[in-house]
C-alpha cells in the first residue's frame, strides 16, 4: 500500500505541492487529472526521488517503508517506476546497454541471477515486438532522435521489462497516435495484477477508456481537490476544471 499524507514540496523555493493526500492499495489504478501547472509531474518526481524537489511537510509510506528516505535507485529497486512525461535523451548510451544495465541492477537487488546477453536479447525481443518497436530503436542512443511517440513506447518498454510494483505514468498517452495509444495501453494492462498499483496522470479521458481506473482524482494548485470513480473523468472532459476555481483557458 502507498500512503501519501499531507505532502508539501518546494521547487526552487516555490511551494508546488500543498498538502496532497492519496492512498493507493495493491491492485488499484488511480488516475490523476488536473490543469497544467497543478503539480502532477512534481508529485511524480517527488515519489521517484528527484533531486531539487524538497519535501517540507508530510510523508509517503510505501509498503511500510518511508519512501522519501530512499535514494532514487533504491526506490526503483523496491518497485517504484516513473514513466516520464518528458523522457530524457542520453547521447552515447545505447538503449540496449541502458536496458540491460537496468534489468540486471534490479535482478541483483532481488537476489536473482543477472541475465546473459542471450537471455537478455530473448526477453527484449519479445517485449519490443509486443509494443511494435523496431530492433533499430534498441541500437540507438537512449531516446536520442526518437519521436514523441517513440519515446513514450520506450518508457512502456522499460516498464514492461522492469515489472514494477508501483508504476507512475506521467502523460504516457500524450504524443501517441490512436494505434500507439492502444498498443501502449495494452502493454500497461498486461501488467495489471492484484499486487501492482498504478498512478496514471493524464489530460484525456480517452486513455481511461483503455486503462480503466478504480479512482479518479483532480489535482489543482498542489492539492487533491476532488476524488471519485471513473465517471469523474467524463465529467471533467465535459466541464473542464472551472468548478475547481481554475480558469482552464489560462
Amino acid at each position: 500500500m502507498i500512503e501519501i499524507k499531507n505532502l508539501h514540496a518546494k521547487v526552487d523555493g516555490k511551494d508546488i505541492l500543498k498538502g496532497v493526500d492519496l492512498t493507493i492499495r495493491p491492485g488499484e489504478v488511480h488516475a490523476i487529472m488536473g490543469p497544467n501547472g497543478a503539480g502532477k509531474s512534481t508529485l511524480s518526481y517527488v515519489l521517484a526521488g528527484r533531486e531539487g524537489y524538497e519535501v517540507t511537510e508530510g510523508s509517503v509510506t510505501y509498503y511500510g517503508k518511508d519512501l522519501l528516505a530512499l535514494e532514487p535507485e533504491q526506490r526503483a529497486a523496491e518497485g517504484v517506476f516513473l514513466a516520464f512525461q518528458y523522457p530524457v535523451e542520453i547521447p552515447g548510451v545505447a538503449n540496449t546497454t541502458f536496458l540491460k544495465t537496468a534489468i540486471n541492477a534490479m535482478r541483483k537487488h532481488r537476489g536473482e541471477k543477472e541475465l546473459d546477453a542471450m537471455q537478455f536479447l530473448k526477453l527484449i525481443r519479445e517485449k519490443t515486438k509486443a509494443l511494435g518497436m523496431s530492433d533499430e530503436m534498441l541500437k540507438r542512443a537512449v531516446n536520442v532522435g526518437f519521436s514523441g511517440g517513440e519515446k513514450k513506447r520506450n518508457e512502456t518498454l522499460q516498464m514492461a521489462v522492469l515489472e514494477p510494483k508501483f508504476a507512475i505514468l506521467d502523460e504516457t498517452d500524450s504524443g501517441l497516435d490512436i494505434d500507439a495509444l492502444k498498443i501502449v495501453a495494452e502493454g500497461v494492462n498486461a501488467l495489471r495484477s492484484p499486487e501492482r498499483s498504478m498512478l496514471v496522470i493524464t489530460h484525456y479521458q480517452r486513455l481511461l477508456d483503455y486503462i480503466v481506473p478504480d479512482h479518479v482524482h483532480v489535482l489543482a494548485a498542489g492539492r487533491v481537490v476532488k476524488s471519485g470513480g471513473k465517471e469523474l473523468a467524463l465529467e471533467l472532459e465535459k466541464n473542464g476544471y472551472r468548478d475547481f476555481g481554475v480558469n482552464e483557458a489560462a
Binding site: 521517484a48 526521488g49 528527484r50 533531486e51 531539487g52 535514494e71 532514487p72 535507485e73 526506490r75 526503483a76 529497486a77 517506476f81 516513473l82 516520464f84 523522457p87 530524457v88 535523451e89 542520453i90 547521447p91 552515447g92 548510451v93 546497454t97 541502458f98 544495465t101 537496468a102 541492477a105 534490479m106 537487488h109 542512443a141 537512449v142 522499460q158 522492469l162
Partner: protein, 450 residues
C-alpha cells in the same frame, strides 16, 4: 611574416645546469659517438638548453603548465639498461595468445629480450635507435632532428643533448603492414633517486605505405621518473600512418612528449592519445600538412583525477592547399585534477581550400576540477573552412536521475554517462582492436574509482 617559433621569453637558464651536469659522466657512454652529425646535434641541444633552461609559465605555450616541480628534484639520467624490472604481462592491443612486432624500452633503453621483430613483412625495418646509429646511419642522419627543432623547444633541446635510444620504424614505399607495431615504454626508475630519460622516436612511412603504431607508456615501482619524449614522424606521399598512444604511468611520473609530424601530398597522419596516468603530463603534437591534399587527424581523451595535471597542446599547420585536419578531444576531470588544452590551427596564405575542424570538450566532475582551454585559429588564406569548439560542462543531472530512476546505482550511472561522453573521442580511433583495447583502459579507469 609568419612564424611558428615559440618565444624563448619565459625560459629560465638557471634550471639548466642541474639537468646537464650529469651529461659529462654519460657522454662517452652514449651510442653513435663516431657520427659527427650526431655529436653536433647533441652539442647543439646541450648549448641550447644551457642557454634557456626549462620553460616557465611566462612562455606563452607553457602558461598553464608549470614545470617548477621538476626543479625541486635532482634527476639522475638513466644509464644503459640497468633496470632488472621483470614483467609478467606487457600491455598490448592484441588478443590473448597473439604475438606481433614489438619494441620494449625500459627507462628509455631498448630491451631486446622483451622485444620481437619477427613476422614483419619485407620492407619494414623496426629497430632501436642505438643499433640504427651503426646500421642505418644514413637513414637516421637524413631524418633525425629535422622536424623537432631545438631552437623552439627547450625540452627538445634537452632530449637532443641526451640522445641515445628509442624506436626506429621505416616502412618502405608501397608496403602495408596489417598488424599493429607496438612500442612499449616502461618508466621504472629507482627508489633511490629520481630518474630521467629522453627517448627519441623516428618513424618514416615512405610513399604509399600504410602502418599502425601503438605506443604503451606504463610505469612500475614507486620511483620518481621523468620521461622526456620526442618523436619525429615522416608521412610520405600517399602514405597513411596511424599513431596511437596510451599513457598510464604512475602517480610519481612526469611525462613530457613532443611529437612532430610532417605529411606529404595525399598522405594521412592519424594521431590519438589516451592520457590516464602520470602526476604531470604534456603531450604536444605538431602536424604539418606539407603537401597538397594531405590529411591529419589529431585526437584524444584525457582522464584526470587526484591532483594530476594533463596538458594537451596541438599545432596543425596547413602549409599547402586542399588539406583536411580534424581534432576531437574529450576530457574528464575529477577531484583537484587540472587539464590544459591548447589547440592552434595555422592556415598559410597558399593553403586555399583548407578544411579544419577542432573540438575540445571537458567534463568537470568536481567543483575543484579545472580546465584551461585555448583554441587559436590563425588564418591567412581566404577560401577556407575552419571551425573550433571548446566547452566545459558537468554531468547532466536529468540524465543521471533518469538512469537512477531505473534502478542503476549512482556510480554506475555516472560511469555510463562518462563513458558515453568519452565515446565521441574514442570513435575517432579507426583501428578496431586499438579502439577496443583503449576502451577497456577507460572502463578500468572508471571501475577504479568505485
Amino acid at each position: 611574416m609568419l612564424t611558428t617559433t615559440y618565444a624563448t621569453r619565459g625560459a629560465d637558464p638557471s634550471t639548466a645546469p642541474a639537468f646537464l651536469a650529469p651529461l659529462d659522466q654519460l657522454k662517452s657512454g652514449l651510442p653513435g659517438a663516431a657520427l659527427s652529425w650526431l655529436r653536433d646535434l647533441r652539442e647543439q641541444g646541450r648549448e641550447r638548453f644551457a642557454a634557456v633552461g626549462l620553460p616557465t609559465i611566462r612562455n606563452e605555450t607553457w602558461r598553464y603548465t608549470n614545470l617548477r616541480d621538476l626543479t625541486k628534484l635532482a634527476f639522475h639520467p638513466a644509464d644503459a639498461a640497468d633496470g632488472n624490472v621483470r614483467f609478467d604481462v606487457l600491455p598490448t592491443v592484441r588478443t590473448e595468445g597473439q604475438t606481433g612486432p614489438r619494441l620494449v624500452f625500459v627507462d628509455g633503453r631498448f630491451r631486446a629480450e622483451l622485444s620481437s621483430t619477427e613476422a614483419l613483412p619485407a620492407g619494414v625495418e623496426l629497430l632501436s635507435l642505438a643499433a640504427a646509429f651503426a646500421s642505418h646511419g644514413e637513414l637516421i642522419g637524413e631524418h633525425l632532428g629535422r622536424l623537432a627543432l631545438a631552437d623552439d623547444r627547450p625540452l627538445v633541446a634537452l632530449n637532443s643533448a641526451f640522445l641515445a635510444d628509442g624506436p626506429v620504424l621505416r616502412v618502405a614505399a608501397g608496403v602495408a603492414v596489417d598488424q599493429p607495431i607496438e612500442l612499449v615504454f616502461v618508466s621504472a626508475g629507482s627508489d633511490e633517486r629520481p630518474t630521467s630519460f629522453h627517448p627519441r622516436t623516428l618513424i618514416v612511412a615512405e610513399a604509399g605505405s600504410r602502418a599502425v603504431v601503438v605506443e604503451h607508456h606504463i610505469g612500475c615501482g614507486t620511483g620518481t621518473t621523468l620521461a622526456n619524449h620526442v618523436a619525429e614522424v615522416f608521412v610520405g606521399e600517399g602514405a597513411t600512418l596511424y599513431h596511437y598512444k596510451a599513457q598510464r604511468e604512475t602517480a610519481s611520473a612526469f611525462h613530457l612528449s613532443h611529437t612532430a609530424a610532417t605529411v606529404a601530398k595525399d598522405g594521412c597522419y592519424d594521431n590519438f592519445i589516451l592520457t590516464l596516468g602520470a602526476r604531470l603530463s604534456r603531450n604536444e603534437v605538431t602536424s604539418v600538412l606539407a603537401g597538397t591534399d594531405a590529411r591529419t587527424h589529431v585526437s584524444g581523451g584525457y582522464m584526470v583525477r587526484g591532483s594530476q595535471h594533463a596538458d594537451t597542446t596541438t599545432l596543425i599547420d596547413h602549409a599547402q592547399p586542399n588539406g583536411t585536419s580534424r581534432e576531437v578531444y574529450k576530457g574528464v576531470i575529477d577531484d583537484t585534477g587540472r587539464a590544459v588544452f591548447q589547440g592552434k590551427i595555422i592556415v598559410r596564405p597558399q593553403a586555399q581550400k583548407t578544411d579544419g575542424h577542432q573540438l575540445n570538450r571537458a567534463l568537470l566532475l568536481s567543483d575543484t576540477a579545472e580546465i584551461d582551454a585555448k583554441p587559436e585559429l590563425e588564418i591567412h588564406a581566404d577560401d577556407v573552412k575552419c571551425s573550433h569548439g571548446c566547452t566545459a560542462g558537468e554531468l547532466d543531472d536529468a540524465a543521471l536521475f533518469y538512469l537512477r530512476a531505473r534502478g542503476i546505482d549512482q556510480e554506475t550511472a555516472r560511469g555510463l554517462l562518462i563513458g558515453a561522453f568519452l565515446g565521441e573521442a574514442m570513435e575517432e580511433i579507426a583501428e578496431e582492436p586499438v579502439r577496443d583495447a583503449f576502451q577497456a583502459l577507460v572502463s578500468g579507469w572508471l571501475e577504479e574509482k568505485r
